[in-house]
């Protein structure tokens, strides 16, 4: 029996670029180069490892995003995913977390799945709630924030390292997992992988393919509203001294002046 794995990935503005907001207070995705969210690379990696362990498995990568978001899908395909689904529709502009989870859940259901793998958070919104929301919508167990994951005989197992304790978790498929950046470095696409990715199928779906009304998503459908976004004033230049033998004492003097000692 074949194991159907769907990996949700996001195309995000490069964190090392000059990220900012557009006039409608959504993220400006035109001015800054985008890429596959680095935290989703870990999701792709774990999905590929699970697929390699299984006898017969297929890895589908899924994203919602503008035309350019195909780059994120290509990267995942060149790492080794088998096929890709791109949900693209102008009415999606401005969708918030609740709306994103609706679209992802409908697309995952349409694609068919035994296991969904997500990153721990996107590197732009960094909310970290989409996997839990998608699990709630799909009505499947959430096995989230795993630093270790495996699938065997229809059961997914993993380790979640929390503040108070490290927990061993277990659930029956179908299920959704999310993985952290502790789960293992993502592989680099090989030249062969990059060439092969060009021939792999990328399906494009719009809202009508998913039976979603325009009013349910986008800025108009959003459950939250950003009312202001202001650049944080740059920190005023501090004092910088060169250690010439007294650096520690000088720093202590500063800390004492600030009443920390």
């Amino acid at each position: 029996m074949s194991l159907r794995i769907v990996v949700t990935v996001k195309y995000v503005p490069d964190a090392t670029g000059d990220r900012h907001f557009a006039d409608d207070l959504t993220v400006d995705r035109d001015d800054v180069d985008g890429l596959l969210s680095e935290l989703d690379e870990y999701a792709v990696e774990q999905a590929l490892q699970i697929a390699e362990e299984a006898d017969d498995a297929e890895v589908t990568v899924l994203t919602i995003g503008p035309e350019d978001a195909k780059d994120a899908l290509r990267k995942a395909l060149s790492m080794g995913a088998h096929k890709a689904i791109h949900v693209e529709d102008d009415d999606l502009h401005g969708t918030d977390a609740i709306g994103t989870s609706l679209v992802l859940a409908k697309a995952i259901e349409k694609a068919g799945f035994d296991l969904v793998v997500s990153g721990m958070a996107s590197t732009d919104g960094t909310m970290g709630v989409v996997p839990a929301l998608v699990a709630e919508r799909l009505g499947v167990p959430q096995v989230t924030l795993l630093s270790e994951v495996s699938v065997e005989d229809g059961t997914v197992k993993g380790r979640r390292d929390g503040d108070a304790a490290s927990e061993q978790l277990e659930a029956q498929l179908p299920a959704l997992v999310s993985v952290t950046d502790q789960s293992g470095e993502a592989r680099y696409p090989s030249f062969k992988g990059i060439m092969a990715a060009k021939k792999k199928p990328v399906e494009s779906w719009d809202l009508s393919d998913l039976d979603i009304e325009a009013e349910e998503v986008g800025l108009d459908g959003a459950f939250t509203k950003v009312e202001a976004a202001n650049e944080r004033p740059a920190r005023t230049a501090g004092t910088i001294v060169k250690d010439e033998g007294e650096g520690g004492k000088q720093l202590a003097e500063f800390l004492a002046g600030q009443k920390f000692i």
Binding site: V129, A171, T224, R232, L251
Partner: protein, 320 residues
């Protein structure tokens, strides 16, 4: 006055500080009603009452420890239905965010995560968020349903405000999905005796420059001289020099203490994402060009193996 549900983060009845901060913020919006679940839930009432909770809804069942997240969502939903609050506030822990999100979906509401401040607002509470590695500050509102907002640690000063804190048993019936994800094992984290990283007033961090697990004792000694928590960069964590639970940054903890001291840390954007909102920032780094120096109130260009021990000695002698 409108009631505001506050989800209580506690360990066996010991309430964690972020919850007390939430009670302070909740009072700006209405009357806090706290929800405490699991082992020791009822023991939380006294301290919650001292900090403004008019009521404490409690429920204990083995499901909270034996299964992941969903039993807590079921319980919070039961509390929501019993109270019909004006807002639901939850601490921004990994679990808190997941519980809050699923609740929001069930009750047809929007969710805002990682608020760093909260005001009452004319129509609904206005949340301040610090986004894009703390380079932007946004003001946002939930515009559909009952606002569900998660709040980061250190977002408000804890203020005492005696209230009834009357304990009431919450009645909860678990959904059939509640037992979907089993917790089959649990290894509690050993206490170091140092303050909790996200709650500490002072954080002393070490990065790749510390150059070895054994050298972290230099960082720990400085931290102990100041009563501080110890943090680490991802480079130090990835090298296995310090536990991941101490990582500061985008995929680690975000901290905003009164004082942050970065030692041998370059200041990559992902590290800055987790510490840029610290009130006072200090760095020790031998590279004068390190980006961390763009953030500092005070920086020492020098070898941490010289500067840090000297600093620790000086602090100890000044404290006598």
């Amino acid at each position: 006055m409108a009631e505001v549900l506050v989800y209580v983060d506690h360990v066996d009845g010991a309430v964690r500080k972020p919850t007390l901060e939430l009670l302070t913020l909740a009072r700006r919006i209405g009357e806090p009603v706290a929800v405490a679940l699991g082992n020791g839930a009822a023991d939380t009432a006294a301290v919650l009452g001292e900090h403004g909770a008019v009521k404490v809804l409690t429920h204990d069942a083995s499901e909270y420890a034996d299964y992941l997240v969903v039993p807590k969502v079921d319980a919070l939903q039961a509390a929501y239905e019993a109270v019909s609050p004006a807002a639901v506030l939850v601490p921004s822990s990994a679990e808190g965010k997941e519980v809050a999100a699923r609740l929001a979906l069930r009750i047809g509401s929007g969710i805002i995560t990682d608020a760093v401040d909260l005001e009452a607002g004319d129509e609904s509470p206005v949340a301040t968020q610090s986004v894009f590695a703390a380079s932007f500050t946004t003001k946002s509102r939930v515009i559909k349903g009952t606002p569900v907002i998660t709040v980061k640690p250190n977002s408000a000063a804890v203020e005492a405000a005696p209230a009834a804190g009357a304990v009431e048993a919450l009645s909860v019936s678990f959904s059939d999905k509640a037992t979907g994800t089993k917790v089959t094992g649990r290894t509690p984290r050993e206490s170091t005796g140092r303050p909790e990283l996200t709650e500490a007033a002072i954080v002393v961090s070490g990065g790749r420059g510390v150059n070895g697990a054994e050298n972290f004792s230099i960082i720990e000694a400085l931290a102990d001289s100041l009563g501080a928590a110890v943090g680490a960069s991802r480079a130090a964590v990835d090298a296995g020099w310090y536990p991941h639970t101490n990582q500061v940054g985008q995929t680690g903890k975000s901290v905003s203490p009164q004082l942050y001291i970065a030692n041998g840390i370059s200041g990559a954007i992902q590290h800055r994402a987790g510490m840029q909102t610290s009130k006072t920032i200090v760095a020790v780094n031998k590279d004068a060009e390190a980006p961390i120096f763009d953030l500092v109130d005070y920086g020492v260009v020098g070898d941490l193996f010289d500067v840090v021990p000297q600093l620790t000695e000086e602090i100890k002698s000044r404290k006598g």
